[in-house]
Amino acid sequence: MSQLSRRPEHAVVGQALRHESAALHVTGRALYTDDLTPRTKDVLHAWPVQAPHAHASVLALRTGPAHDVPGVVRVLTADDVPGVNDAGTKGDEPLFPSEVCFYGHAVAWVLGETLEATRLGAAAVEVDYEPLPALVSVADAIAADSFQGARPTVARGDVEAGLARAAHTFSGTTEMAGQEHFYLETHASLATVEDDGRIFVQCSTQHPSETQEIVAHVLGLHSHEVTVQCLRMGGGFGGKEMQPHGYAAIAALGARLTGRPVRLRLNRTQDLTMSGKRHGFHATWRVGFAEDGRLEALEATLTSDGGWGLDLSEPVLARALCHVDNAYWIPDVRLTGRVSRTHKTSQTAFRGFGGPQGMLVLEDILGRCAPLLGIEPHELRRRNLYENGQHTPYGQVITQADRLVRAWDQVTESAELERRRAEVARFNSTHEHVRRGLAITPVKFGISFNFTAFNQAGALVHVYKDGSVLVNHGGTEMGQGLHTKMLQVAATSLGVPLERVRLAPTRTDKVPNTSATAASSGADLNGGAVKHACEQIRQRLDAVDAGRGLPWEELVRTAYLERVQLFAAGYYRTEGLDWDPSVMRGSPFKYFAHGVAATEVEVDGFTGAYRTRRVDIVHDVGDSLSPLVDLGQIEGGFVQGCGWLTLEDLRWDESDGEHRGRLLTRSASTYKLPSLSELPEELHVALLERAHEEGAVYGSKAVGEPPLMLAFSMREALRQACAAFGPAGTSVDLASPATPEAVYWALDAARSAAPERSGSPEPGAALVELSEA
């Protein structure tokens, strides 16, 4: 057992604790960035001037009329930028654009004494636009050959030979929508100027160091002149990994130019219309199966909807390609990816980071092909699960396939799938207008940033003379319970009770050069760093103690008097990573997280409306650092995944009218995320046992993203319920999201399948069987 993963007896890690801020949350006292505004004197507010075109040139911009609005203090434009006019790291996201690239693009920002003044001021700014043709769908972009960034390929073996070898081959298209993060707290920044001109930005950001860098380059400052602090976020989900930087830069620029604090908080409509979302994907594929249903070969082209700028589209695409295999062995593979450039918000990170989109392609293939192969979907999936010693298409060896199988078998047994499948069949044979489906799907998700340099973290731990401990680390708290886990790690590694330890808000002047709190890696990386810092202090204290067994307070006091350093910087980097992005080969992941879910749904044949009767999950979090936190991540991820796959329905105006490219679902009343009514009636979650993770902090595993993809079980259950409206062997093509309307059309198509086709499976509409065995 490695030093990092070894867990002492009576450890604080592993205890089921509530969120460290729970008492502040429930009493309304937890502070978020915008809660600081009424506590700050002389704050100016900011409001964007949003373009009413998806694509246009800005011919002229007249700010004068805005200044006539009482309360307007200043209008920020490109001319005001002392440094680099760019909100990103790729140089393709002008903070003040001369070319409007999506409907709602902010071309200027108004600062004012009140929000009302800025709103009216923004309406008064006069902008002359020359509208240009706009691409507002992936199909538009493909037709116009509009792409951006790298076009990577993951390949192994000879895919044509594999397809030729296969007993059954099919081809098809899979499309999936994106997803709005809908963190309850919209983007918010509050910038102030210090006495010497330094800038202090409080920001709801998952990546304070990068926010700091962008603010610095926009203002023409060095990093040591800009400090970014994140108290906590009201949700992030990836939406605050890259996207907050520009808003922070606007606030900082305004503060620098006016000398007053500037608050920029987007309202929901602004947030929805300006910030990036999960990438929608379009995929074309050819697949080959052996007679027994084993995958022989897969060839696929994945095209993501990148929106107007690169943002994180390239790494999202890389992760998508690295997850098409999900949990299945495919001998011959060729996967090609590209990022389309469209006139929409610049799509970005979202929990899973392309992994869900990649995996959906193969899960869709398996769900559609199972009936055509005459194999039960659960049997087809089980038969194709990885075995130890096999390699992923990009070359990483599989070492924990046994965990997948254990989770699969545990769900099968605890959820009584065999009995319930028979029950579902019986129910469906006796009900004309209502049908049920019961599906089981696996998840295998790689942990580590594909971008190897991000796999490092720092911490700064202070022990004060009274024995109290203050922990700083580079990770941010967005509700995922990272701070709770870090408190547990610190208490465990110092050997003190939890009450001795407090956490300070995340600040770039405490721990520098941090990575985004993303890729589920927060606890792995920062936990390693916190543990490292604490162990240095512990070693020094142990030397002072010299076996005497002094009580903690006395030991600390003694150490101080003996002039022993009571604080330490910790550092951690993930070992054993090996990734060559130029050829998309190697072992980019420290390990894989695993999970299996079984979901039963009931579908109303009159409307396509459905409800989730029961969900059973077994998920691998290693030896849990904090079981209540991990349970919350699993359940929350599952429901959020169900939202993406079945409910949340981003729509843009694709007409040729004057509002072409406008987001139609730009409010909470038009964009529906899961509410309490989407909670499964029964939900059973178990953590996989005997799951110690060698080489990760206290034997734990990352948990943030992987459970989202457990929601495939719901989509597949819906597909099976739709199929049950048709004759045996019906292949159902189900749109994503599978809204009640989409489910209705799927079941209607199944119902319309001619009865005489029963027993002789034929390809579905979009699915062509290329050859017969």
């Binding site: 429930v26 009493t27 006292r29 309202n267 409010s667 209705y744």
Partner: protein, 482 residues
Amino acid sequence: MTTTSHDARQGQTEAAPGLTVNGSPVDLEADGLTPHTTLLDLLRSRGLTGAKEGCAEGECGACAVLVARPSDPGHSEWVALNACLVPAAALDGQEVVTAEGLGTPDQLHPVQQALADRGGSQCGYCTPGFVCAMAAEYYRPRPDPADGFDLHALSGNLCRCTGYRPIRDAAEALGRPAPADPLAERRATPAPGPRHTDLRAAGARLVRPTDLAEATGLLGEHPDAVVLAGSTDLGVEVTLRGARPPLVVAVDRLPELRALEIGDDQITVGAALTLTEVERGLAGRVPLLAELFPQFASRLIRNAATLGGNLGTASPIGDAAPVLLALDASLVLAGPAGERVVPLADYFTGYRTTVRAAGELIREVRVPRPLATTTAFHKIAKRRFDDISSVAVAFALDVVDGSVARARIGLGGVAATPVRALATERALEGMPWTRESVSAAARVLAGEGTPMSDHRASERYRRAMLEQSLLKLHATTSGEAR
């Protein structure tokens, strides 16, 4: 016949405009406050951080607070409202409690304790709103011990982190308030009555008149005035669309608009009763309405929204109109010149326009009795709780001896106004209630209206749902709906 009037008119006094928040007075004439300042903005400007803005349109519940409202005579109850929608000035004289007022980190309220212990908060941003919505249900008088926590109380609160399971468990594990609980005790004393208000600032004015005559008089004099009932529609116009009407007339507490009478020939419902009050007052006596209420927006909205408001805005996708059309309801319109009765079927004239004249208010809704024997309300939407209908269909049929003697069908979401499905009614009346004839009528129903394709649904789906709704009704009533 039973009559209830929720507000006593006595007790209305002139005083400096203000309200209490967590027991402390808050001035409504302070700097920067206007008649359009929402309660949420007022709270936040005072440094109270519990109520959050998540959407500013009453969809997410992050801003939910508790307000003391009249209950049984001499008593009060705690009602949860979206603070983002209601103008602070409309709460002149009222008592507001926020999450901060329920408990402190050292002394959590039982609702707060339950949520915290069970992992009911992750990012915590939605949490104070859940706390308030949950507390309102916790304090709901429930004399019957078997009357458990109604999860619909949380239908207007969104959480993006937890997936809701720990929130559901926390709610269901709650007991009843202890007798000495201060908010429980507060229920035994009267809630503040409405107070005459006339607040002017920033070129706008909000008036809460004392009686109907004052209200219609004001509306008659000021054609640009807007009526505030539940503020669930006006609030969105103000927060999201920048509407700043110069005069707002708050009619939601007018006693003349708040009567509920259940007579032998008809049921009359005051236009300014909240939907929650109507639901409770009718107690299931109009099954079609009983089917509607749980599907109408969320509890947080139903605690504010009124039938008068839902019909006054004349939205083609309001869910009350199709039901009331099927019930053959009529409206009593009260104006400066007196009252008139208008059948609801004649009320709508076009997209968000009606026969209601300037100065006229909807005073009450009349539903004739006896009620039809076979009724159903089918709401087609993406989400089961708190969604807007793609299509809404309300059926009220009398099936006598196996034939349809009378049919009334109200539709929402298929035209510029709510409409009756007249052709379908004709196709059904006199026909046998069999699968064959119903299928024929269902095809007629599919052709009613002029449904569009939009982000909620395609035209094709809307038409299919019209057809399916009648087939489903038939299957349900004939016991075939398996």
